[in-house]
C-alpha cells in the first residue's frame, strides 16, 4: 500500500525511490529547457530577471501585450476591471516591454539592501566608538538636522505612499516590480532619517528622538509648505499611475529631492562637522540613481519611443511635466529659505554657490529628462525663479 508513514521521503526511502526511478524515462520528453523561451530578450540572452518576471501579469489581449483572452472573472462594483486601459492616459503597443536595467528581481534587490544594512550597522558602531559625534556642531545637530533634515522623512514617506495606487494599477509585471522597489527605497530613506535621529539621541542624551519637532516643521514651516502640498497631491490627488510615477520620479524627486539631499544636506553637513548625514544621503542617492535608470527605460525607451503611440505619449509627458514642474519650482523656491537658518559659508552657502548648486540640479534634469521628451525649458529662467529670494 502506498501510504507513506511520517518521515518517509521519496528521494531517500529506498523502496519509494526505486519505484519512482522506474517511472522516469531514459530520455527527456522535450528539448526546450529554457523557461519563457517565447519572450523577446532585451539583452543578448534571456536573463533570469526576465524569465522570472515577464508575463506573470495575466492580462488579456485587449490590454497591449497581454497573452490571455476574455474578460476579468470578477470586477469592481459598477464594472471597473481588475486592470484596464482606462487606468492611464498613456498608450503602448506592449506594456511588457519595460526592463529594469539593473535586472532586479526580488532576490538581488533584497540582497543589495541587506548588504547596505550590514554595512550601516558596522559604520554606526565605529562612528560611536570613535566619538566622531564630537565634531558635529550643536546648532546644526539640534536645529537643522533634528528638525529640518528630520522633516524630510515625511517627504520621503509621502512619496512612498504615492506608490500604493501605482503598484495596484500599473499594467505589467516589470513595471510593477520597478515601482515597488522604488517605493521600498523611499520608505527606507524615511526610516533611515529616523534611525539617524535615534542614533544621535543615544550618543547625545539632550537630543530629542521624537518625531514631533520635525513633523511640526513639515506641517507648519513655510520652508516645506509647497513641497508638502505637492507630495499630498501626488499621494492622494491623482490616480493615473503613469502621472504619479512621472510626477514623482520624472520631475519632483530629480529636482527637489536631489537638491535637498545632495546640494543641501550632504554638502552643508560636512561644513558643520557632520560626517554622519552624508553616509545616509549617499544611500538615498544610490537608490535615486538605480530608480532613475529604470524610470528612464520605462518613459524614454518604451513609452516616448513607442512605435505607434510616441506622439501622444510625449504630449502627455510634457503636459504632466508642466503641471508638476510649476509646483516643484515653488517647492524649491520655498526651500531656499533654509539658508537663512545657517551662517553663510563662503564658497558653499553664499548666493553664487547656492545658485550654482541649483543650476547643477536643473541642468542635470534638463539633460536627463526634459530633453528626452522634447519639453521646452529655459534652464536659467528656472534657476532665477528658484533663487529669486536668496540673499
Amino acid at each position: 500500500m502506498a501510504l507513506v508513514e511520517e518521515k518517509k521521503r521519496g528521494l531517500t526511502d529506498p523502496g519509494i525511490a526505486a519505484r519512482i526511478l522506474a517511472e522516469i524515462p531514459a530520455e527527456p520528453l522535450d528539448t526546450q529547457r529554457r523557461m519563457n523561451y517565447f519572450v523577446k530578450p532585451r539583452w543578448k540572452r534571456l536573463s533570469e530577471y526576465e524569465i522570472l518576471t515577464c508575463y506573470t501579469q495575466p492580462t488579456p489581449d485587449w490590454i497591449s501585450g497581454g497573452l490571455d483572452w476574455g474578460d476579468w472573472t470578477q470586477k469592481f462594483h459598477g464594472g471597473r476591471p481588475s486592470w484596464g486601459n482606462e487606468f492611464t492616459e498613456l498608450r503602448t503597443t506592449d506594456w511588457h516591454r519595460h526592463r529594469d536595467p539593473a535586472r532586479r528581481w526580488h532576490m538581488p534587490y533584497v540582497k543589495a539592501k541587506a548588504e547596505e544594512w550590514g554595512y550601516t550597522t558596522r559604520f554606526l558602531e565605529a562612528y560611536s566608538a570613535a566619538g566622531t559625534i564630537r565634531t558635529m556642531e550643536a546648532y546644526w545637530r539640534d536645529e537643522l538636522l533634528n528638525k529640518y533634515y528630520g522633516a524630510t522623512l515625511f517627504n520621503e514617506y509621502g512619496l512612498f505612499n504615492a506608490h500604493s495606487s501605482v503598484v495596484r494599477d500599473c499594467l505589467s509585471d516589470t513595471v510593477r516590480s520597478t515601482a515597488t522597489f522604488a517605493a521600498l527605497d523611499k520608505v527606507d530613506v524615511a526610516q533611515m532619517v529616523q534611525l539617524e535621529r535615534v542614533f544621535i539621541a543615544k550618543l547625545v542624551p539632550s537630543f530629542a528622538e521624537s518625531t514631533e519637532a520635525a513633523k511640526e516643521v513639515w506641517l507648519q514651516d513655510p520652508i516645506y509648505r509647497p513641497a508638502r502640498e505637492l507630495v499630498e497631491e501626488l499621494w492622494q490627488g491623482i490616480q493615473d499611475w503613469n502621472e504619479i510615477l512621472w510626477g514623482a520620479h520624472g520631475v519632483y524627486d530629480p529636482l527637489f529631492g536631489q537638491f535637498v539631499r545632495q546640494e543641501f544636506f550632504q554638502a552643508v553637513a560636512q561644513q558643520h562637522g557632520d560626517s554622519l548625514t552624508p553616509f545616509f544621503t549617499n544611500q538615498a542617492q544610490l537608490a535615486f540613481q538605480t530608480t532613475k535608470a529604470a524610470i528612464s527605460d520605462l518613459y524614454f525607451h518604451c513609452l516616448a519611443d513607442d512605435p505607434e503611440f510616441a506622439d501622444v505619449n510625449r504630449k502627455y509627458l510634457r503636459a504632466w511635466t508642466s503641471k508638476w514642474l510649476e509646483k516643484t519650482v515653488a517647492a524649491l523656491a520655498g526651500f531656499m529659505a533654509i539658508y537663512k537658518k545657517i551662517d553663510t559659508i563662503p564658497g558653499v552657502t553664499d548666493k553664487v554657490s547656492v545658485t550654482n548648486a541649483v543650476r547643477r540640479v536643473v541642468n542635470d534634469w534638463v539633460e536627463d529628462y526634459a530633453k528626452k521628451i522634447d519639453f521646452p525649458v529655459d534652464a536659467e529662467a528656472l534657476v532665477a525663479t528658484i533663487t529669486k529670494d536668496l540673499k
Binding site: L3, G10, L11, E27, L52, T56, V110, V187, L203, W218
Partner: protein, 526 residues
C-alpha cells in the same frame, strides 16, 4: 556657531556613553506610527463601504532594511539548497512523474495568486490609514513579488532538470487554453483585487492566506516529499514564512473595522462570500492535485481540509472572533460536501478535457482505486467505473482516436461553466454540493452551479461577465484551439498535454485532429 560649544556638549555626552552602539529595527519601528499626517483628501482611492481605524498595529515590527536582511537569509538558504545540494543529487528529475506534472499546475497557479496579491496588498496599503499597517502592507507587497519569483523559480528549475520540461517551460502562455484557468483567476487573481478593499482583504488574507495557504503551501510539501520532490518543500516552506505577517495584516484589517458599527452590516456577508469564493476553487483543485496528481498518498484530502480549514481556521480564527460579531460562514455545510466529493468531480472533468492542459494527467490505477474506495466509500461505483470504461475505450492510446470529452457529449453529460466561479460543473455526474441553474438576462444566458454564486450574480451582475471556455470555443475543433493556444511541444507536433505519464505513446496534433472532437456550448440547448 562656535565649534567649542558643540564639542563640549558631545564630549559630555560621550562621557556618559562611548561604547560602540547602533540602532535596532524595532527602535526605529516604534516611531513609524507618527510618520503619517492628516490632510484634506487623505483617504483611499479605492471604493469601500468600510471605515478603517488609524491606530492598528504591525505585529512583526519590520523596517525596510531588516526586512531585506531577513529575506536575504531566507534566499541564501533556499537558493543555496537548490543550486548546490539539489542539483548535485539530481533531485529535480527524481520526482514521480505524476507529481512532476502536478507541480506544473500548482506552482504556476500559485504564482498567479502571488502576483495578484502584489496588487491586492498595494490596494490595502492605499486603504489602510495607520502608518504601521501601511508599512506592513508594503512588506507584503515585496513578499508577494518574492513569492511570484519563487513560484516561477520552481517551474524554471524543473524546466531545466525534470524529464518533461514542456509545460514547466511555457505555463505563462499555454495555461490560458484550459478550463481550470479562469476559475483560478477568479479565486486567485480578481477575487483579491477587484472589489471593496476590505472585501478583498477578507478574500486574500483572512480566507485565502490564513486558511487555504496552509494546505496549499504547507501540507503540499508533505505530499511533495512523499513523491520524491524536495524542490517544492525547499521553496514553498520558505514562501510560507512570509505568510504569517500577511495573516497578521489581514487580522489587523479586521481589527481596524471591528469597532465600526457600520461594518457589522457588511462583514458577515463579505466573509461568507469570500469563504465560498475561495473554497469553490481551492477545495476541488487542491484535492485533485494531491490525490490524483500523486502516486504516494499522505492522507485523504478531506482530512487535510477538516484539520486546516474546519478545525483550525474555523476554530482559531472564526470561532475566536465570534464575540466580536463574526459568524460561522453559512456556506460551510455546502463546503463540507465539496470537501468530500468536489475534487473527484473535477478530476473527472479535467481528465475528460485533458488535451486543453499544459500538463500530463493519468488514470487512477488499481492501487489508487482501492485507496479511493477505502477513504471515500462509494467512489468506485460512481467514478471508478467511468475511468475503467475510458481506459477500455483506449483513452490513453493515440491510435484509439478516443477523447473522453466526446464520450461526455455523446452520453449527455453536459459540462457547464459557473458564470461566477468559472468552475466547470457536470450536473449529471457531480456529487459535490449545488445544482444547475440557467437564467436569461437581457438576452444572454448564464449558468450557475450553486446558490451562493447565483446570489452574487443576481445582486451584482456587472461584476461577473467573463466569457466561459465553451462560449469562446463553441464550434471549433479541439486541435485547432490547442494549436492557437501554443499547447504543442518544441517538435511542433507533439502535444504538451497527455492522458498518461508514460515516456512513450505521446499524442500529436494529428492524433487529436483524427478524433474530430468539437466544442459545443451546452447553453445553446436552452
Amino acid at each position: 556657531m562656535a565649534l567649542s560649544t558643540a564639542t563640549k556638549a558631545a564630549t559630555d555626552a560621550l562621557s556618559v556613553n562611548r561604547a560602540p552602539t547602533t540602532v535596532g529595527p524595532q527602535e526605529v519601528h516604534k516611531w513609524m506610527q507618527s510618520f503619517n499626517w492628516d490632510f484634506k483628501n487623505n483617504r483611499t482611492k479605492y471604493p469601500t463601504k468600510y471605515h478603517m481605524a488609524n491606530d492598528t498595529k504591525e505585529q512583526f515590527k519590520i523596517i525596510a532594511k531588516e526586512y531585506a536582511r531577513m529575506e536575504s537569509v531566507k534566499d541564501e538558504r533556499q537558493f543555496g539548497t537548490l543550486l548546490d545540494g539539489m542539483t548535485r543529487l539530481n533531485a529535480g528529475n527524481r520526482v514521480h512523474p505524476r507529481w512532476g506534472e502536478t507541480m506544473k499546475v500548482a506552482s504556476n497557479f500559485l504564482e498567479v495568486g502571488e502576483y495578484n496579491a502584489i496588487a491586492a496588498a498595494a490596494m490595502l496599503w492605499d486603504s489602510a490609514s495607520s502608518a504601521e499597517q501601511k508599512n506592513g502592507y508594503l512588506a507584503q507587497v515585496l513578499d508577494e513579488i518574492r513569492h511570484t519569483h519563487q513560484c516561477g523559480f520552481v517551474n524554471y528549475y524543473f524546466a531545466k532538470h525534470y524529464h518533461d520540461p514542456a509545460g514547466h517551460n511555457d505555463a505563462r502562455r499555454s495555461r490560458a487554453i484550459g478550463p481550470l484557468w479562469k476559475g483560478m483567476k477568479r479565486v486567485f487573481a480578481d477575487g483579491f483585487i477587484s472589489g471593496d478593499a476590505v472585501e478583498c482583504s477578507i478574500n486574500l488574507q483572512l480566507v485565502g492566506e490564513a486558511c487555504f495557504t496552509n494546505p496549499l503551501i504547507v501540507a503540499i510539501t508533505e505530499w511533495a516529499a512523499a513523491n520524491g520532490d524536495e524542490v517544492t518543500p525547499t521553496v514553498f516552506l520558505s514562501i510560507e514564512t512570509d505568510e504569517l505577517r500577511h495573516m497578521a495584516n489581514g487580522y489587523q484589517t479586521v481589527v481596524s473595522i471591528a469597532n465600526d458599527p457600520a461594518a457589522q452590516k457588511y462583514m458577515n456577508s463579505d466573509l461568507n462570500n469570500a469563504f465560498w469564493t475561495q473554497q469553490k476553487y481551492f477545495t476541488p483543485v487542491l484535492g485533485m492535485l494531491f490525490e490524483y496528481g500523486s502516486k504516494f498518498k499522505v492522507e485523504p484530502w478531506v482530512k487535510t481540509w477538516n484539520r486546516w480549514v474546519y478545525e483550525d481556521w474555523g476554530g482559531i480564527w472564526i470561532g475566536r472572533l465570534g464575540k466580536y460579531g463574526v459568524q460561522s460562514p453559512a456556506s460551510l455545510r455546502d463546503a463540507k460536501q465539496d470537501a468530500y466529493w468536489a475534487h473527484h468531480d473535477l478530476a473527472l472533468l479535467a481528465y475528460a478535457m485533458w488535451p486543453t492542459g499544459f500538463f500530463r494527467l493519468s488514470l487512477p490505477d488499481a492501487e489508487d482505486m482501492a485507496w479511493f474506495e477505502a477513504n471515500y466509500p462509494g467512489w468506485y461505483d460512481h467514478y471508478g467505473k467511468i475511468y475503467e470504461e475510458w481506459k477500455a475505450l483506449g483513452c490513453e492510446d493515440p491510435a484509439s482516436g478516443f477523447i473522453p470529452l466526446q464520450w461526455m457529449i455523446d452520453k449527455g453529460h453536459d459540462i457547464y461553466i459557473d458564470r461566477v466561479s468559472q468552475v466547470p460543473f457536470c450536473p449529471s455526474l457531480a456529487k459535490c454540493s449545488g445544482s444547475l441553474r440557467v437564467h436569461e438576462l437581457n438576452g444572454q444566458k448564464h449558468s450557475f452551479s450553486d446558490e451562493w454564486g447565483e446570489r452574487m450574480w443576481l445582486t451584482e451582475p456587472e461584476r461577473y461577465e467573463c466569457q466561459s471556455v465553451f462560449e469562446q470555443y463553441a464550434g471549433r475543433e479541439l486541435s485547432d484551439v490547442i494549436v492557437e493556444g501554443h499547447g504543442v511541444r518544441a517538435d511542433g507536433k507533439t502535444l504538451i498535454a497527455q492522458p498518461h505519464v508514460r515516456g512513450d505513446k505521446l499524442w500529436t496534433v494529428d492524433d487529436l485532429k483524427r478524433a474530430n472532437c468539437k466544442f459545443a456550448d451546452p447553453l445553446d440547448k436552452f
